[in-house]
Amino acid sequence: MAGDFDVKYVAHLARIGLTQDEQEKFGAQLANILGYIEKLNQLDVSKIEPTAHAVPLVNVFRADEVRPGLTNEEALRNAPAAANGLFMVPKIVE
């Protein structure tokens, strides 16, 4: 499985731009790591339930009440670009 690992494709899925050097280096390193983690195939897990959390808690509810949150000014304080009380982003639709 490690053999068909396409670092450029997966990096794009993860929205991470890589240089040519990074593609070559990470591609080799990750193929090596994938080769290692394939050792899990040695185990028969057909009858085992998966663990998503170590402490199983179900349905943690709270009352649906309005509570104080960040003000508009606080929410925008760390924005790389903002105007008129809004985040600025590149044009999405023509």
């Binding site: 670092v7 997966v10 991470i16 899990l40 185990l43 998966p50 402490v55 304080r77």
Partner: protein, 462 residues
């Protein structure tokens, strides 16, 4: 507080434990604490105690970088629950401690702000990812510190720097205001110079929090009350699978001596088996990277942090994340995206979650026979800065003794149990306890500490 600031002034140039700290703010808090003491304040067990924070825990109005460039000039809009709890207990909360970027690493070399140096030998790493926290406590730059532990990131640096590091049970401490790495594994914990301080700080930060739905409604005991020195009849497990060629000979010898010492104190040693040990590292690196790839999707250059402009949103994301993240974070996000991607999810992620069940069962079975498990914390002492950075898999494999604890969700701590001969570097002993079994491992650790002198040794930094 002034003593800590003086010490920082004297040694920080060689240690680089802090990314930043606000001395004026710390002194103002100290003045307020002095007034409170003069006024006879009660119910504040940490009044005036300087406690520093790993740069992944939010303090309102202070910078938060997670050891990364991608957060730019981010200022936290609110404080983490643990910060509010420390402040309520009277502590002086100050400083941003260095770390591997987004807590990914075992050496603190992955920080965008440069590496931290081990106080025992400044040419060596302090461990990681909470390397700044461990180094600051070991170098007496603060009394205690908070860090986070996802696969050993508190216990391993504590071992390498010669202090006490405690990873509480998953759900024991609220993570509200902690930047998430791997949500099913992350836990906030403590660094301190001895077990009593550890018990006090742990007690202050523990407890269920309505703002963290994964925190567990279990009452918080007085952890200091458990430190009675009475370990007679407690059963300590030695892991059969850890005995074969795992640790450096000097470390193994120190741990063997500690086991004998526990026997002298009246504990009973029992051999146990964790049959799926060999699969823990692989399981961890699937689960942790998968969760990281989802959690770190939020760093996209839109709402906060640094941005590199692009012709369209996708171009902006790729450029921002390509420029903002360091190599280890990029590798792990890519690996995580891969193991979650269509066609590979069942083969990698789902399979790893099932193996995680087997690893948890190993511990459940072991804890039916023993009260705690005793192991080395790290298979090697602190290595030289730059020695292992080129081989990420080798770096992963050094986490073998600490990683299973997070997969099982149990608690663990590391305390000093000796030194290597030449050069003199600290060796850490790990005690693993049942879920919400913090009192038992603190009791054991305290009995050991009080009958040995390792914790009294300080690094020479003149």
């Amino acid at each position: 507080m002034q003593a800590c600031l003086d010490r920082i002034q004297a040694v920080e140039g060689r240690i680089h434990a802090f990314i930043s700290y606000d001395a004026a703010d710390a002194l103002a808090q100290a003045d307020a604490a002095d007034k409170a003491i003069a006024g006879g304040a009660k119910g504040k067990p940490l009044l005036g105690v300087p406690i520093a924070l790993k740069d992944v825990i939010a303090v309102r109005g202070q910078p938060l970088n997670c050891g990364s460039k991608i957060l730019g000039k981010f200022i936290s809009p609110y404080s983490a629950t643990v910060v509010e709890k420390l402040q309520a207990a009277g502590a002086i909360v100050f400083g941003r401690l260095n770390m591997d970027e987004f807590a990914m690493g075992s050496s603190t070399e992955n920080s965008a702000f440069g590496p931290t140096h081990n106080p025992w030998d400044t040419s060596r790493i302090p461990g990681g990812s909470s390397g700044g926290s461990a180094a600051a406590v070991a170098a007496d730059e603060c009394i205690a510190a908070l860090g986070t532990d996802t696969g050993g990131s508190i216990r391993q640096p504590a071992a390498l720097c010669g202090c006490v590091g405690m990873k509480p049970t998953y759900g024991r401490v609220s993570r509200y205001g902690l930047v998430a790495f791997a949500s099913s594994l992350d836990q906030i914990g403590t660094f301190a110079k001895n077990i009593r301080d550890t018990a006090m700080v742990l007690g202050a930060i523990s407890g269920q929090d309505p703002r963290d739905s994964t925190s567990v409604p279990v009452a918080v005991p007085d952890y200091t009350a458990a430190l009675d020195g009475n370990v007679k009849g407690l059963k300590l497990g030695l892991v059969k699978e850890y005995a074969v060629g795992g640790a450096d000979p000097e470390i193994q010898a120190a741990v063997d001596a500690a086991v004998k010492h526990f026997e002298k104190l009246g504990a009973e040693i029992v051999e146990i088996s964790l049959p799926h040990t060999d699969y823990a590292v692989a399981t961890y690196y699937i689960v942790a990277t998968a969760e990281a790839s989802a959690n770190l999707a939020r760093f996209d250059g839109i709402r906060y942090g640094a941005r590199v402009d692009g012709v369209d949103p996708i171009d902006l994301y790729c450029k921002t994340r390509g420029a903002g993240f360091g190599a280890e974070v990029k590798r792990r996000i890519i690996l995580g995206a891969y193991v979650l991607s269509s066609g590979y999810y069942d083969a990698f992620y789902l399979r790893a979650q099932k193996v995680r069940t087997l690893i948890r069962q190993d511990f459940t079975n072991a804890f039916a026979k023993v009260d705690a498990i005793i192991t080395p914390t790290s298979p090697t002492p602190a290595f030289k800065i730059g020695e292992k950075t080129s081989d990420p898999l080798q770096m992963f494999l050094s986490d073998i003794f600490t990683i299973s604890c997070n997969l099982a969700g149990i608690c663990g701590l590391s305390l000093p149990c000796g030194f290597t001969r030449e050069p003199k570097l600290p060796i850490g002993l790990q005690l693993l306890g049942k879920s919400f079994g913090e009192e038992t491992i603190l009791k054991l650790a305290h009995a050991y500490e009080q009958s040995t002198s390792w914790h009294t040794e300080r690094p020479v930094l003149t």
